[in-house]
């Protein structure tokens, strides 16, 4: 049974429409004009317990609005949502005890106090007794490699340390569903990797369901076997990341460096010849023929170097958003 069920979810915002300049200001003052902006339209999907699902989409695609509706922060204009058996918009305490939302650009920790003070507040709010709270803090701090940082004022922590402390605060009540909005925003490569490792570990250890938005493809490829692609408020792909990349890039790129010069005709039957420049050859070979054709290339030519690669996922997905559909 899905832990998250979303059916025909839509959200429309009413925004003021104002022309620039003094004339626009006066006109707006005298006669306000509004227009409706559709942020999310007819989105449906379901997530099983323990899944890690990534939301992908360009800025303004509707990812964060969808997350806000899933957590109950905003009410849907139409459609229905159920998370852990609850209707999020009602924000009943039992529902709130089962979820958490971590936003990379927002903090819940008290800025001038050490993170431990915020953890104490959270423990009281969620009804976790002192000894259990200490045990959980110790366990999560171990997983996050946090130590002395917990007794230093939040304002003195680095961005990476702060995000780890935010995660600890958000997970102290051991929620069943984690909503993460850009959790690695602004972090350096090492800190990003540590946060990703932690999230994967947490998911394995507690069977928590994770819904994640991120602009860093590294987060998605490392964590999310399944992705939801949202563009202009509509869901237009729901499936495995691997299938998506295979369907977007059915060929793999093979680069060869040859000892002797060769001509283009010699590469007929080895996929598509993309370029031939001196000793450098670039071929696109269908995935299913890759092993066989690379073997033949190696036996036929005197190859100094060989490299097989996938086009970067960012590039593929960026292309997809520009096209506006999955082929």
């Amino acid at each position: 049974m899905p832990i998250v069920s979303v059916d025909e979810l839509s959200r429309t915002y009413r925004v003021a429409d104002r022309q620039p300049g003094l004339r626009g200001s006066v006109q707006h003052l005298l006669r306000r004009r509004h227009r409706d902006v559709v942020a999310v339209q007819g989105v449906s999907f379901a997530v099983e317990p323990g899944e890690i699902v990534g939301f992908l989409g360009p800025n303004g695609a509707g990812k964060t609005t969808t997350l806000k509706m899933l957590t109950g922060l905003i009410h849907p204009s139409s459609g229905s949502v159920q998370v852990a058996g609850w209707v999020p918009a009602r924000r009943q305490p039992r529902f709130l005890e089962q979820i958490t939302l971590v936003m990379g650009n927002k903090q819940q920790l008290i800025w001038d106090l050490p993170p431990l003070d915020s953890f104490r507040v959270n423990a009281a709010v969620y009804g976790i007794d002192d000894s259990e709270a200490k045990r959980r803090i110790h366990e999560l701090a171990d997983m996050l490699e946090l130590g002395d940082e917990l007794t230093r004022p939040v304002r003195k922590l680095s961005l990476g340390q702060r995000m780890k402390a935010e995660l600890l605060a958000a997970l102290l009540h051991r929620p069943a569903v984690l909503f993460l909005d850009e959790p690695t925003l602004g972090l350096d490569v090492n800190a990003q990797a540590r946060v990703r490792d932690f999230l994967a570990d947490y998911n394995r250890r507690y069977g928590a369901t994770v819904l994640l938005t991120s602009h860093y493809m590294g987060d998605i490829t490392a964590l999310c076997p399944r992705v939801l692609l949202i563009h202009q408020g509509r869901l237009f792909y729901d499936g495995s990341l691997e299938e998506l990349t295979t369907s977007l890039a059915p060929q793999r790129e093979v680069r060869l460096e040859l000892r002797h010069l060769a001509n283009a005709e010699e590469f007929q039957g080895y996929g598509e010849l993309e370029s031939l420049q001196g000793h450098q050859v670039r071929l696109l070979i269908p995935r299913e023929q890759l092993t066989q054709q690379v073997g033949e290339l190696l036996s036929r030519f005197d190859v100094l170097d060989l490299e097989v690669s996938d086009p970067p996922v960012e590039e593929l997905i960026g292309r997809l958003f520009r096209q506006g559909s999955v082929a």
Binding site: G72, M103, K106, N122, A124, Y126
Partner: protein
């Protein structure tokens, strides 16, 4: 109940620790609340005590008590709430199983606790400079006065909560709060004791919540003759009226909340 008490204890302790970080700022805020002492100077200079039907000592005691009441009934909810709502800081609070207004209330109480030494210091300085202006209230007056200060703070907090809820509809609700400043200044007894008002004006003032936010607790603390039962009754009635309005506006407002900036 035990859980609620624990939340209250932890929230107050944490907020007190937080406010201590801002002790210098709070000391300045306390210092800036000397308007009743300035008014005392004005009234003394103008020989107004007689006009008000009060002795000079009573006038001093009233304004010094008003100074104390004002220090412990300051409400700044709308300013922090507006910022939190606009910047999306309210979102994490809304996603925890605790009504967010309790956090703001705890912050206010902690801020008042932080003020205590500064206010005590200012009273001590006043006692040194003008020993006749200051008199210790009797135990009964002190107890009633403290109770009235607590209730007056609750009333001010609720009234501002009602205005604060407009943050869900307007991005500049704090400006609306300024509209309340004028009636508060004049009708609360901050600028002049209510007894100096013409009778119809005094009756009008007593029909508003403002005198119960300052004049009533100040009169109790100063040991002036005042109908305590009527005062506490009015405080209870205003609180009973405003609490459900604040609650209904909160419910309607949260439905509108767009989690701006979140």
């Amino acid at each position: 109940m035990r859980r609620a008490l624990r939340i209250a204890r932890v929230l107050l302790a944490t907020q007190y620790a937080y406010m201590l970080e801002y002790r210098a700022e709070i000391a300045l805020w306390a210092l800036s609340g000397v308007l009743p002492l300035i008014m005392l100077g004005v009234w003394q200079g103008a020989g107004g005590a007689v006009a008000a039907g009060l002795s000079p000592q009573q006038l001093s005691h009233y304004f010094i008590a008003a100074f104390v009441v004002r220090q412990f009934t300051v409400v700044w909810l709308i300013h922090v709430f507006e910022e939190d709502a606009l910047q999306g800081k309210l979102s994490p609070y809304l996603l925890q199983p605790l009504q967010p207004l309790w956090r703001y209330l705890a912050a206010h109480i902690a801020e008042q606790a932080t003020r205590i030494p500064f206010v005590a210091l200012m009273l001590a300085v006043l006692a040194l400079l003008q020993p006749t202006d200051l008199a210790l209230p009797s135990a009964g007056a002190l107890l009633l006065g403290l109770l009235a200060i607590g209730a007056a703070f609750a009333l001010r907090f609720l009234l501002q909560t009602v205005v604060t809820m407009l943050c869900f509809w307007s991005e500049r609700a704090a400006a609306l709060d300024r509209l309340l400043l004028i009636p508060y200044l004049f009708l609360s007894g901050l600028v002049a004791p209510l007894d100096t008002f013409p009778a119809p004006m005094k009756s009008f003032a007593l029909a508003t919540p403002f005198p119960y936010m300052l004049s009533f607790p100040a009169q109790l603390l100063a040991g002036m003759p005042v109908n305590a039962a009527a005062g506490f009754g009015a405080l209870a009635a205003w609180i009973a009226l405003l609490a459900p309005i604040a609650w209904l506006l909160w419910r309607a407002g949260v439905r509108r909340y767009g989690a701006m900036g979140a």
